[in-house]
């Protein structure tokens, strides 16, 4: 397997994960005002109650950055979560967005109902490895199968934090933890599971790589259907030993990027430094684009079989790969499948209650 190494973890605020792709500076207004006239503070949430240094808090701030820079109206975002440390985090970003902290493993169904009732809203879900990989595995797969338009973030740390450190289903086989002992079972690779369920946007990232997280988030928010971001997000309290594959130090030392890509918002010009044929573009739902830098041996995310091969190899060798694993913009999303036009929730009695005559007609047919 050839991978693209990128030693730089700290971001410099640009959108491209590759320094050779120049993106327009977002929010180029006065005093940090973005394209819809909001400042970053308008995207803030409550103060986090998670442990100091928790990877989830880093992801929360990347969500804020992505939405702020994209100029998303906070009121058009609906936050969802299940139960667990990860699922608390939607309270810690974007207080002006509606949020629904659902049941353990049940975020997908609640999100699906809400976003079918109003498909014009943008769903942003935050789940964890326990919430998605164990109790919620069924709903996760079925959400993907139906292709509801939403961003589905898995804050993956391999342990149950709120219940004090049991292994989750994504923990590596053979791993040892002080409280939980030795893990005897292989991990479920949620990215691989997502591709198997025909997810059209699958990426893995690392909470310690904010630049990549932000770029992926922006692309995911612009995606047509369910976008799964499996973000390794270290648990500083229960699973951050150097030998844990879910730790900061492991991530920093072993993060292997499988591709370089940038994100270009719709109606913006792509400024690319390199010659024709060196990039590949994937147009997203709202007209924005993912620009992939073609390098020798870098992973082509439009190749599903290659993505599965790559993940299988990484799984078998316990490799930590990050990047855009798979993208397919062809599948219609759930609202399209259902031919929804106006939000169902917006209909009032005039459209909801059929006519008196129609009932009389049915009644006379029932004789």
């Amino acid at each position: 397997m050839t991978t693209v190494k990128n030693g730089s973890i700290a971001g410099n605020g640009t959108q491209a994960t590759s320094p050779s792709i120049k993106m327009p500076t977002p929010g180029a207004g006065a005093a940090g005002v973005n394209i819809i006239g909001l400042v970053k503070a308008d995207y803030k949430g409550l103060e986090s109650t998670l442990c100091n240094g928790c990877g989830h808090d880093s992801i929360s701030s990347q969500i804020i950055t992505a939405c702020y820079e994209l100029g998303v109206k906070p009121e058009r975002i609906v936050k969802f979560s299940g139960i667990g440390c990860s699922s608390k985090s939607p309270a810690y970003f974007m207080s002006r967005s509606f949020g629904f902290n659902a049941l353990h493993g049940r975020m997908p169904s609640v999100a699906q109902g809400a976003l079918m009732a109003n498909h014009t809203l943008q769903g942003l879900g935050v789940s964890g490895d326990g919430d998605t990989g164990s109790i919620g595995l069924g709903q996760f797969m079925h959400l993907i199968r139906r292709n509801l338009r939403m961003v589905y973030i898995i804050e993956n740390n391999g342990v149950y934090g709120l219940t004090k450190g049991q292994f989750s289903a994504t923990a590596d086989i053979g791993q040892e933890l002080k409280y939980a002992g030795r893990n005897e079972f292989p991990p479920i690779d949620l990215c691989r599971a997502a591709i198997v369920a025909d997810c059209g946007f699958v990426a893995r990232s690392f909470a310690g790589d904010p630049k990549q997280v932000v770029t992926l988030l922006k692309a995911a928010l612009s995606y047509r259907g369910t976008a799964v971001l499996d973000i390794i997000s270290p648990c500083v309290t229960f699973n951050n030993r150097d030998d844990s594959t879910k730790s900061y130090s492991w991530g920093k030392a072993h993060d292997e990027r499988i591709n370089d890509f940038g994100f270009v918002m719709s109606q913006e010009e792509i400024q690319i430094d390199y010659a024709e044929g060196e990039t590949k573009e994937v147009e997203l739902f709202d007209g924005s684009k993912i620009v992939l830098k073609k390098l020798d041996g870098s992973h082509d995310p439009t190749d599903k079989q290659a993505a599965l091969r790559l993940l299988t190899e990484a799984h078998d060798k316990q490799l930590f790969i990050t990047g855009l694993l798979y993208i397919n913009t062809e599948r219609p999303n759930l609202a399209e499948t259902y031919r929804l036009v106006k939000p169902i929730a917006s209909y009032q009695q005039d459209k909801l209650r059929p006519s008196r005559e129609s009932l009389q007609k049915i009644m006379s047919a029932m004789y």
Binding site: E75, A102, L103, Q112, A114, A345, R353, I362, A365, M366
Partner: protein, 626 residues
């Protein structure tokens, strides 16, 4: 073996291929005609198409103006297991199941012995002539029908012959009883939705069978049907279709469900009628979505999500689904989200008897969920109320911001019932307390769970409301008035107190019971749901024996003061219900502990719809002991 058995008594002689005329000559002599007051049971194998035949017979009789009801006693199986369908004709309009059947039609050799035994004395035993009867009763009228032979004549495809065979008995019984073939044809037109080809091919068989019967059977039995005018202006429909129509006229916007007997046909009816009734003329887009979920957990999860976002959302399920929905029902109760849950009850616990009726989910539905939970429950007692509660449930759910259960059952939901036509909802939709963008902006924010109006119900905002002050974070964990996470003891207690106040508001808003108070009656009967026709008939039977009983038909939980008053007004109260634990009886005793001693269970649960006979006998028995 057969010959040895039959040879022992001359009167019971049955040849292997009996000549119908000879057979009829052996039957008891005719007596006074019995008109429009008997039951017909067809014993067949399931999956053989007999459902169509039975539905056609039922509707043909209905169209002749005769009050009828149909009860399908079917197995949890796809094909080949015994199934019985009983049509009761009642000139007096009683629609409950009866324990006896006068006319037995047997096409299933597997059940012939018990069917033979179960035919009422003096009754008719019509059977396929390839079924061998080892013994005969001297008190029955026998008619052997060459079902297979006629099916062979009419259908070249052996696979389709069993379907055709069922039409043979329709023709034969029509001829024997005097059912108008034109009404059979009209019933076929209804069944096949006006498609002439299947109507014609079925009608051909029916006519041929009727002609054969006219030529070959000599009628010796006294049973007849005659035209009446008692179904004029009435409709015939099943409760699940009625519920679906009610939901549609109630503005259902989102449905998520998971297949389960006996609730599946409710979702089927939604899928049938929604595309016809709920397309937005401006955009040609549906104003609804129906999702077949991956399980009942997800079904209610989706409904809760949709209700939260402002759609009128419902699910339909049965007992096992209710168990799985406990989790989300608790969340819906605590996070205060409108939802409508139809529970078409079947026999539990566990898998139980999936195709048999029960009223066993009363307590489960009322208190579903861990912690302190309680839910308003609607109890439709007719297909008419299935329609009415179908739309009313959404008004209640949105007004009360909570899951509302509607307890139907297999008998009400899956069987055909006569009814007056459904009335169009005259009340405008009650969308409950929802703040608009302007209202939120004007108040500069709101407190989601604050009891502003004193009825325990807060004001809510819907996602998509773009006021920067509209959003809140919905959660199932402890919260204060502003929907903020709180573990404070006072916040918790205040919230639960308010929920209790809200439940008192529900008590006032739920449909009151229907009470028929009989002057001077010592005893009262309480019932709900599909047992209503049996109770009505039992009251007449009791009255014939000199016992007059008042009647309270409960239509919702929680109970209100009408119940208290009814209990006070009678010395003994019998609570009629189809479950083993006398669940409603227990709830009534809790509602009014001081009356507990005089509230008596009259419960029975064997998977079959209650009969007036059983209720009468039970009350008479308990009355002799008091």
């Amino acid at each position: 073996m057969l010959r040895e058995l039959t040879a022992s008594t001359n009167a019971n002689l049955v040849s292997e291929k009996p000549h119908p005329t000879l057979e009829s000559n052996l039957a008891p002599s005719p007596r006074e005609p019995i008109v429009n007051d008997f039951a017909i049971t067809a014993a067949t194998k399931n999956g053989s198409g007999s459902q169509t035949s039975n539905a056609i017979l039922l509707r043909a009789l209905f169209k002749m103006g005769i009050p009828v009801s149909g009860k399908n006693i079917f197995p949890s199986n796809i094909q080949g297991r015994p199934t019985w369908y009983t049509i009761r004709l009642s000139k007096d309009g009683y629609l409950a199941r009866r324990e006896t059947t006068e006319i037995m039609i047997v096409l299933n050799p597997d059940t012939v012995l018990e069917d033979h035994q179960n035919t009422a004395p003096g009754g008719v035993f019509m059977y396929a002539d390839d079924i061998k009867l080892p013994v005969r009763r001297s008190d029955l009228h026998y008619y052997a029908i060459p079902v297979k032979e006629m099916a062979r004549q009419h259908e070249a495809d052996p696979k389709l012959r069993t379907y055709v065979a069922n039409m043979v008995y329709v023709g034969a019984i029509a001829q024997l009883l005097g059912i108008d073939l034109d009404e059979i044809q009209a019933a076929l037109m209804f069944h096949f939705k006006g498609k002439t080809k299947p109507v014609e091919s079925n009608m051909k068989v029916v006519r041929a069978a009727a002609a054969w019967a006219a030529e070959n059977l000599i009628k010796t039995d006294p049973y007849r049907v005659e035209r009446m005018d008692k179904t004029k202006g009435q409709i015939m429909i099943d409760g699940n279709t009625a519920a679906a129509l009610g939901a549609i006229y109630g503005g259902v916007g989102f449905v998520a469900w998971y297949p389960i007997t006996p609730a599946t046909s409710l979702a089927d009816a939604l899928n049938e009628y929604l595309p016809k009734l709920r397309i937005d003329p401006e955009t040609q887009a549906p104003t609804y979505a129906v999702v077949q979920a991956e399980d009942e957990l997800a079904a209610l999860g989706m409904v809760i999500g949709a209700g939260w976002a402002g759609a009128r959302a419902m699910t339909c399920t049965s007992g096992p689904g209710i168990s799985l929905m406990a989790e989300f029902t608790g969340l819906g109760y605590f996070a205060e989200i409108p939802a409508v849950i139809w529970d078409v009850q079947r026999m539990g616990p566990a898998t139980g008897l999936p195709t048999r009726v029960s009223q066993g989910d009363v307590i489960a539905a009322y208190w579903l969920g861990h912690g302190d939970t309680k839910h308003p429950v609607l109890l439709p007692g007719s297909v008419y109320e299935c329609f009415e509660f179908g739309w009313r449930a959404f008004d209640l759910a949105e007004r009360l911001q909570t899951p509302i259960f509607v307890l139907s059952d297999l008998d009400l939901g899956m069987n055909q019932w006569m009814s007056k036509p459904f009335d169009y909802p005259e009340e405008p939709m009650d969308r409950g307390k929802v703040l608009t963008e302007e209202q939120v902006n004007a108040t500069r924010g709101f407190a989601r769970y604050k009891d502003v109006d004193g009825d325990g119900i807060g004001w809510r905002t819907l996602p998509g409301n773009e006021s920067p002050f509209a959003a809140y974070f919905t959660r199932g964990s402890g919260h204060n008035e502003r929907a903020m996470l709180s573990e404070r003891a006072d916040d918790w207690e205040n919230n639960m107190d308010r929920l209790a106040r809200k439940f008192e508001t529900a008590r006032k808003l739920m449909p009151p019971p229907v009470i028929d108070m009989v002057e001077g009656a010592e005893i009262g009967i309480i019932g709900f749901g599909s047992t209503d026709p049996a109770i009505q008939e039992a009251r007449a039977m009791l009255e014939a024996k000199g016992i007059r009983a008042s009647y309270l038909r409960l239509r919702a939980l929680p109970m209100n003061d009408d119940m208290t008053m009814f209990l006070a007004a009678h010395k003994r109260i019998y609570v009629v219900e189809m479950n083993s634990d006398a669940q409603l009886c227990q709830l009534i005793r809790l509602h009014s502990p001081k009356d507990a001693e005089k509230v008596r269970p009259a419960n029975h649960s064997d998977g079959l719809p209650l009969t007036a006979h059983w209720i009468t006998e039970e009350i008479l028995y308990q009355e002799t002991r008091h």
